[in-house]
Structures are given as C-alpha cells and as structure tokens.
Symmetry: C2
Subunit: 127 residues, 2 copies
Amino acid sequence: MQPGPISLEQACAKLAELWSPRVVGRVNDQYVKVAKVQGEFPWHTHEREDEMFLVLRGRLRIGREAADGGPVSVGPGEFFVVPRGLRHNTAAEEETWIVLIETVTTEHAGDEKTDLARSLEEQLRPL
Amino acid sequence: MQPGPISLEQACAKLAELWSPRVVGRVNDQYVKVAKVQGEFPWHTHEREDEMFLVLRGRLRIGREAADGGPVSVGPGEFFVVPRGLRHNTAAEEETWIVLIETVTTEHAGDEKTDLARSLEEQLRPL
C-alpha cells in the first residue's frame, strides 16, 4: 500500500533526466508516472494501449497525423488521452512536467526502436 | 477520440452538485472523473478495484481503519490510491475539488447502500 500522499510536483522535481518516466504509483492495471520533457520524442504507436498525458508545468505538443485531427497542445492542468493504435509523437519547447497514466505493460516508445526508450525496469527505479 | 485537451479545473468548475462525480475521460479500462466534495461520504469498500484520488483544490481526508495506517490528508497536487479491499471514507472541511481514476465498473459507494451514491449513468451525463 502507498504509505501516504504523493506530490506530483515534488516527484517531478526529483527527476534528473529528460524523457525518462518514473513510476510513482499504480491504480488497478495502470501505472502513474512522472516525466520531465523538452525537445522531441519520436513518432510511435501503442497498438493495444491508450496513454493519458496530464501536464503540470510547461506545454506538451502531441503530434497526430492530419487525418487524425492534427497536433494537440496541452497546457498546465489539462489532460489528453492518446487512443490505442494512434501514431503520435510528443514535443515541448520549454521544460515541461507531465504525468502519464498507462497500462503497466506499455512500452515507452511503442513499436519504435530509439535510444530514448526507457525500459520498464528503469522506470521502476525509486526516485 | 477525445476532441482536444480537457482542463480538470474547468471541468470541476462546471459541477453544480457535491459528491456527484462526472466522467471526463477514459484511459484503457479506467474512467477519469471530477468531483466537488465537502462534508463526509460514508465508509465503504470496493472489493476488486483500487481507487485513485488526486486533489486539485482544498484538502481531502481519506479515512482508513487505524490498523491500516489511519487517515490520510491529501492536499493540492497530491494523490493517494486506496487499494482494493480497504474500507475507507472521504471527507473535506472546505469545498474540495478532486480527480478520481477508477475502473469503469467501480460502484460509487462500493458495498454501501446510501442516498449519496450516484449511478454510473448519472456520472456519464455530459458536463
């Protein structure tokens, strides 16, 4: 059991590395993760899993193909769910703090091979 | 697909009634809900589902039996996950705005019969 409340901002503040999500909680079959991002993460798809992005600070640009509605700009206090099967990327001009909620089996970069991808083992290291 | 980003604060601001969660999103098999609470909600248990509480404004007191660690006080930007099977209640002295993440099948008041319980149909009405 989680010993007490967890501050999402304080958890984010502990992150030393960009694009390296860390698990801070679990609800049912979903992990709650925090990440600091800036720059761009490659296009990829999660065939079987939706992915929720909640922005704490900064602004996250979620790229979608034009046919799927084009890019989405997510600001502080806003969330967006990328549905399974939708090819997407993420980008941020300034340092942006985000919360991710996704199924425990979700691969960081989905179907894409990239050096930016973090293993689940890395994401599970205590902050 | 969700048409665009959703502001959790703006969704909460639209709630007219206390203790009446409304679904604002879905990620995998979990609903994302917002609720305004003040006063106390009865003790109950969800036998098969964890329940995540994230506080936006105010302060939420989550009661747990002493043997389970006693009450938890959750402030703005903090979250706490009540694990399945744990008898709990929720209370707030001031008007408190929260986000709930829970399995789509979760009953509002779990095993407890109370007039405060809202049906899933009520929770799914557009805000």
